[in-house]
Symmetry: D2
Subunit: 344 residues, 4 copies
Amino acid sequence: MKASVIGATGFAGAELLRLLDGHPEVELAAITSESSTGENIAAMYPHLSVRIETALGSLQDIEQIADKSDVIFIALPHGHAMKIGRQLKMHDTKIIDLGGDYRFKDIRVFEEWYKVKHEDPETKAVYGLTELYRGQVKDAKILANPGCYTTCSILALVPLLKAGLIETQGIIIDAKSGTTGAGRGLKLGSLYCSVNENFHAYGVADHRHTPEIEQVYSEYAGKDVVIQFTPHLLPVDRGILATCYASLKNDVSEAQVQEAFAEMYADEYFIRLRGQGACPEIKNVRASNYVDIGWQIDKRTGRIIVMSVLDNLVKGAAGQAVQNMNVMFGIPENTGLTQLPIYP
Amino acid sequence: MKASVIGATGFAGAELLRLLDGHPEVELAAITSESSTGENIAAMYPHLSVRIETALGSLQDIEQIADKSDVIFIALPHGHAMKIGRQLKMHDTKIIDLGGDYRFKDIRVFEEWYKVKHEDPETKAVYGLTELYRGQVKDAKILANPGCYTTCSILALVPLLKAGLIETQGIIIDAKSGTTGAGRGLKLGSLYCSVNENFHAYGVADHRHTPEIEQVYSEYAGKDVVIQFTPHLLPVDRGILATCYASLKNDVSEAQVQEAFAEMYADEYFIRLRGQGACPEIKNVRASNYVDIGWQIDKRTGRIIVMSVLDNLVKGAAGQAVQNMNVMFGIPENTGLTQLPIYP
Amino acid sequence: MKASVIGATGFAGAELLRLLDGHPEVELAAITSESSTGENIAAMYPHLSVRIETALGSLQDIEQIADKSDVIFIALPHGHAMKIGRQLKMHDTKIIDLGGDYRFKDIRVFEEWYKVKHEDPETKAVYGLTELYRGQVKDAKILANPGCYTTCSILALVPLLKAGLIETQGIIIDAKSGTTGAGRGLKLGSLYCSVNENFHAYGVADHRHTPEIEQVYSEYAGKDVVIQFTPHLLPVDRGILATCYASLKNDVSEAQVQEAFAEMYADEYFIRLRGQGACPEIKNVRASNYVDIGWQIDKRTGRIIVMSVLDNLVKGAAGQAVQNMNVMFGIPENTGLTQLPIYP
Amino acid sequence: MKASVIGATGFAGAELLRLLDGHPEVELAAITSESSTGENIAAMYPHLSVRIETALGSLQDIEQIADKSDVIFIALPHGHAMKIGRQLKMHDTKIIDLGGDYRFKDIRVFEEWYKVKHEDPETKAVYGLTELYRGQVKDAKILANPGCYTTCSILALVPLLKAGLIETQGIIIDAKSGTTGAGRGLKLGSLYCSVNENFHAYGVADHRHTPEIEQVYSEYAGKDVVIQFTPHLLPVDRGILATCYASLKNDVSEAQVQEAFAEMYADEYFIRLRGQGACPEIKNVRASNYVDIGWQIDKRTGRIIVMSVLDNLVKGAAGQAVQNMNVMFGIPENTGLTQLPIYP
């Protein structure tokens, strides 16, 4: 397969390069960056030195890039992919968008939360949370790769929603992400001295991953689900922990919970069920495509607390994108993604 | 005032030494450590060099220590203070206990959560969350200094409970603490390589600060409050952030919320109200006795998210202990505690 | 004393505000920032909230500021102080410059290393490494506060140079600084994800603190000293460690070394001699004005390795500036600077 | 190949498991731990969950382990491998020791620096700094895998020593290592709160990697080389930077230096020459087997400063061990080691 990465100089783009380099079936066709067109990617990311010393092209050549690519990954801020999607409508190239443009069934939800008009509203993309939508992913032309918080939160509670074990009201997701999630932009809040030894919430009550999570929860619950979602910024490079609170329905037992998770995930390569009483740690999935899930039932309060962790740049972005690519091209889903986490 | 520190080699003990050294009215009488009796404290904590080069005594001499002390701070794990309290019942020395022994009105709650029998059940201590119980603190003989998570969580929601603006059901506190909170004991989980670049929950559904928070919430709500409390371990030295979720009663306005906070805290030296929309950061209170509080009302969900931060070793332990001492001895409450936070 | 801070929004400026706030003899007269004129400093640095809620003025009003200030601290990049110095030549206000403009006896050295023309060449400033030049500091009108690496390196070796115990050739200083040393500017290299879990040298062979160190070494050695100086960027907020290598002259004994250090520093409040065999740690001086010095004689190689640590924002910048102010105004040198280090 | 890991629960052991798991030609035969015999390795290292859920055996069964292993990796503190080496003298199994026991040509040097008597003095092991001793590694029965500081320091200067471009006197290596280098033992100095925001030297003038570096330097220089070696502890998990100072011989040009490095390393897969002016960063080689080398000639002082970085757990331990295994078994040297570094 020939793959291109549009927006290769962001953290997700660079992580795609790393994963594609280690993928036995992929050859890199082109990489682009609007801010650094013409530069060698290894000059900006010396960890790629010797291995990926490629000059960055430009979005302006997207059609030629499409001509030589079986698949194009778009790792740009929202608002760009919909333009590219429209432009490449007639090309065979498959598109995997790591941004928000194609993630919503209802365009109005996108426009409300992202505050921009959608420019490619009639295109139907497939939502690529692979474990849940594998069947559709297979046939996708444009794939909307889910957000990082989203993947983590959805995988944590969907089994319980599907099995009807929790109330759909009152769900609270208190999530914490490493700083790569904030991107590589030059902001005071992203400086070392701002993040180090620090911790705080942000986007309280209005983070854009909220409606994305609700969309899938609602589908699995069979009715509208409204959640409380609060992200926080962790002083680590990578990793998300979602602490998910839900009220258990009356008399739900530990065994039923265990069974609901096992039924959905027992055969999933990238999901490791750590079970009742386990508190998953972000470092145990670092630099891997794994999602570790544990939970605790609190009989005193009638709640279940489900905790899920993933690496926001891998399963939360580039890794899941490659996983989707594998499915879209009919090769084993874990190809190029079997590295163990890096610990410590 | 002559002050002694029992258990001076833990993090809270060492922080007490730092604060007492800078306190204009205090002279250090004695310090002890059972594990390092006879050693110079500065050999273990070189940051104290030159300034506090004192040999560590032993608990065995507690009565002589009491004889020469106006106040004794106990910074030992739970279970010790109640023995000392019983032993010194006839001494005039005031006792400020940083552990859990004397924090509960109902001894059975203590015994249930701490799994030990109370050995000094008839002594009535004062619960020293200074801002709330200043009147009683003044006359305390034995003062129970609150826990770190506890102080942070209580101060965040008590104004709303007191004003009756939130439901007493469904309160969730998702708290995150720096690693000094785990103490100086040699545990795998406290190693640098275990904590750095990592994050996880612990003590889910059974952390001992839960009933302490509930005790005060219930008092202010005028009825029993059951909360969900989940602590997490942050890869930072110091600092706690409590993200507190509560359902607002119908039609409560932003102004009412602001007013409830202002009514309780407008004159408090150590509480800085950051207001609606602010997300307080732990680094902004580091090494100080401040508590910063911000909040966000989410009209979509009907909830308020209150966020409070403090330094777990200062307002969450040693600083509040000194604040209580000041009140107990009738000197200005902020004496020795006016240092600004260290940033960055 | 009325003090003003020119350039209050950089890290050194903000640290000055913290120290001046805790100084019993100082009242803040004015603060400025060219990039944020008119804003409240606490909006940029919320750790100052409630305590320092002052609007930032502008350099344009420097003369009015001088009129109401006994002392002006300049915390701007090099090149600005010399303009201010020239402008305020006729004012009584004392000036303490934290930048490089006035640090060199020989203007040509400044111009060669800083690549700018000096605009106030005839003014004779006093070089404010307080422990060494206290006598001149007392009478200074314009004081050049030394660099952070400089202070750390100079204090480490000057006693041995003065006593003639080490060779003046072959001195190597391998220094490591926390990230506040890189300032608050928006640079890719200062992002959290660039610094965290990383470490590297920079400015190898051409860092501007080199000639400043050589100037003082040469003075104490009585002949020209050329050194090798290599700075590195540490993934911490604060702190410098200078590992200084020098060849001991034949037959110099441990006792002679100890004596040389004691002779210069035994009575210095801010210098803590940790002695032969000690490896000082940056965390033991954090947020304080202390310098800890230890050393190791290596008989196998004939060298002495002297290690010194300080907080680059305190003794390496704002703290030493306040120390100099104290001397210049004839009050006890440690006034407002007696806080113990923050540990952990 | 069937491989076993003796001492699998230390950081180097766990890293071996990670690398062997991703190695296409290796099957894990046995793993051991004396402190946790019988336990599942994944219970101690949950990042291995699902993938390596193996019970830990014991050294007591070393002969049976040898029977079923083509190669045995020993990741134990020094003093153990020599016992195993003696015991397995008659087995065909190849041994790769990650400790110090077999690294010295002269047993007396080992005994002097390690303060223990060697129990297998007559065995001649091969010193496995692969790039330098590839020819001997091929035929090794017992391979002494070099130390982490050692590998980093040796690779930095050997090209210049071999080409005779630097003086053999006056070499100083100022090295900085991540905390995994200190191991997983429970020591106060390894606690998060001891390492975080801290930095200091240790083992000044007496670190055991000194004679190992000198041994190879001397061989390449053709005469005895004595160095100054100073290690420091970095607040990061992984990575070593060696800043190496040497005096250039008269009139040595940039081109000659470049040529000397290229001659030795141009064809080396794992060495990336970053050239004159480059300051390599530890994060750019993290979790990979790469060594990045840059340098700076200082005409003012006549010195060259060579800077090399590697991941102490990979090229400094487990990665180089696997690289040596590949050579010993005649398969491509980079098999299983081609992952790109993890950045950020």
